[in-house]
Subunit: 318 residues, 2 copies
């Protein structure tokens, strides 16, 4: 445990663990002079690890963000947490989007002590996240490419295969990605339609980045928009219905944040919901699983579809 190398690393570790720590304490812990501590701080800064100092009484040292990432020293618990996070990311299908996930896992795997590895394995063996599985996607690298494009605010082109119209080439400004019900969706500004649209990633193929860039509207809150947009895909048919329930349990079902209360209107007999859909089949399927009663005001086509769905169910229990 001797040599400056070891001790400098120890200082780094102490700084990472404690938010702020004084020179006197560091000196005592390392068994060196305070003067030497100051030199170690200099060494760290030469290593590209900037250290902020607080002068005066109750002063001390702390790490600050620099241009480069310093070596990270994790405790066992923290490593476990990171491993869990990586597993979670994999479950969500983010692994394809971020190949680095695999490399981090490999790095950790190589150096994790046996007992820690065992704990990680224990948790991953006994803990499962079951997500509904969507159809296999047409373009395996769609998520990866779209993540990059969204982050870099580059427009993208792709072919969208809708059940009605077949494959259509589109160019879109990708604003955000949502994972919902086991599927990834892209929300963005569609150049073809000159309007906001959402796309299922498993219906997208041939994603490629375009040279054009775009600006997200500054007041655009991706999270809220994405939540709202869920009900607004397709604009073919106006739908309005009354949900016989209270606001709270409604939003529990929708998984929405407060903002999407916009689509709702309080009525005496429940919540009025006005939205659009382009598939009665899909919408009636969705309605069928609501845990509360509702009344369809319009259109008749939706009533027909739901009636058909219900009739089919009745047939099933003959």
């Amino acid at each position: 445990m001797s040599g400056p190398t070891t001790r400098v690393l120890t200082v780094l570790e102490l700084l990472q663990t404690h938010g702020q720590i004084g020179g006197a304490e560091l000196a005592e812990r390392l068994g060196v002079d305070r003067r030497t501590i100051r030199r170690y701080i200099t060494v760290l800064e030469e290593l590209g690890i900037p250290v902020m100092t607080e002068q005066g009484r109750y002063g001390g040292y702390r790490l600050v963000a620099g241009f480069k990432l310093p070596p990270m020293m994790f405790t066992d618990e923290e490593t476990l947490a990171v491993s869990l996070g990586l597993l979670a990311a994999r479950q969500l299908g983010l692994a394809d989007a971020a190949p680095a996930i695999a490399s981090v896992q490999a790095k950790l795997e190589r150096v994790m002590p046996a007992d820690l590895k065992k704990r990680v394995r224990g948790v991953s063996d006994t803990t499962r996240v079951i997500l509904p599985r969507g159809e296999p996607s047409l373009d395996d690298r769609a998520l990866q490419n779209l993540t990059v494009a969204t982050e870099a605010m580059r427009s993208v082109g792709f072919t969208y295969h809708s059940p009605e119209h077949g494959g259509i080439d589109r160019s879109v400004d990708p604003y955000g990605l949502v994972f919902r019900q086991g599927r990834w969706y892209l929300t963005g500004f569609c150049h073809l339609r000159q309007a906001m649209r959402s796309f299922r990633l498993d219906r997208i193929s041939h994603v490629h980045l375009l040279t054009a860039t775009f600006q997200r509207p500054p007041d655009f809150d991706a999270a809220d928009f994405l939540s709202e947009s869920f009900l607004s895909w397709g604009r073919t048919h106006e739908v309005s219905l009354v949900l016989h329930t209270d606001r709270e349990s409604a939003s529990a079902v929708f998984g929405f944040h407060s903002s999407c209360a916009e689509g709702f209107e309080q009525r005496e007999d429940g919540l009025l919901l006005t939205t659009q859909t382009d598939s009665f089949e899909w919408f009636s399927w969705w309605l069928a699983q609501l845990p509360f009663r509702f009344t369809i005001l319009k259109p008749d086509g939706l009533k027909d579809a739901l009636r058909e769905h219900a009739t089919r169910l009745l047939e099933c229990c003959k």
Copy 2:
């Protein structure tokens, strides 16, 4: 950029990035003698970072698991991946289970370069995971405690609040945890019933570890069991039905792995599924959302429940 400290760290970084690397290459990259490289390797080992050496032709150095975690050197991409993973873990509510998630995030946050922070923020702003929201749980630390117990193979005691029987104290050997449909479930051996049971975590309160330990059956594959157990909660009523679809799309709906094919039996008119349920309401709700036709063979109570569900849907579109 001189001094042994820097160079030793560089060696560590090179070792972490490359799986195996020879002394000659290291020496060349650092601009030092091969002898010095050997000394650096010794330093690393004194730091508690064990290095495996491969002698002879095509030999070299590589990191191996030790007792302590070495400082991890991540690239920007890797850090982004770790951050994403931590976010994903939070979304799944794993943060309560692993408090260290927060401390890792804090550590990273402190030292991440500004541009990297911006990228993380960019992705987290534009990417959302929407999960159905369950009821608030009775015991906030249930997941955390159960994770610990499952990992340590310690029996637990808790109060289970079922809608039918109210609160009952149970002692259970926790075998595994599943996240499904926005809720956490515990699967384990129930001492009260002397059988495998699953419990919703939001109905559990007063979790405490017992002193008793248990052994998971050696042939018990948690993952498979957890998948299967989904259909087997409660054993009150035998259910059998025929799904008019093929094996592939059935398992897509169930989100199952191959193993759960056990519950299925190929018939000429579809797949025969035999299982159990203790709630006809719940089961019929679940059936209502299947994207294919099916026929209930028994019991009649389930038919009634589904008929009622369908009738209610019919009323909704009057």
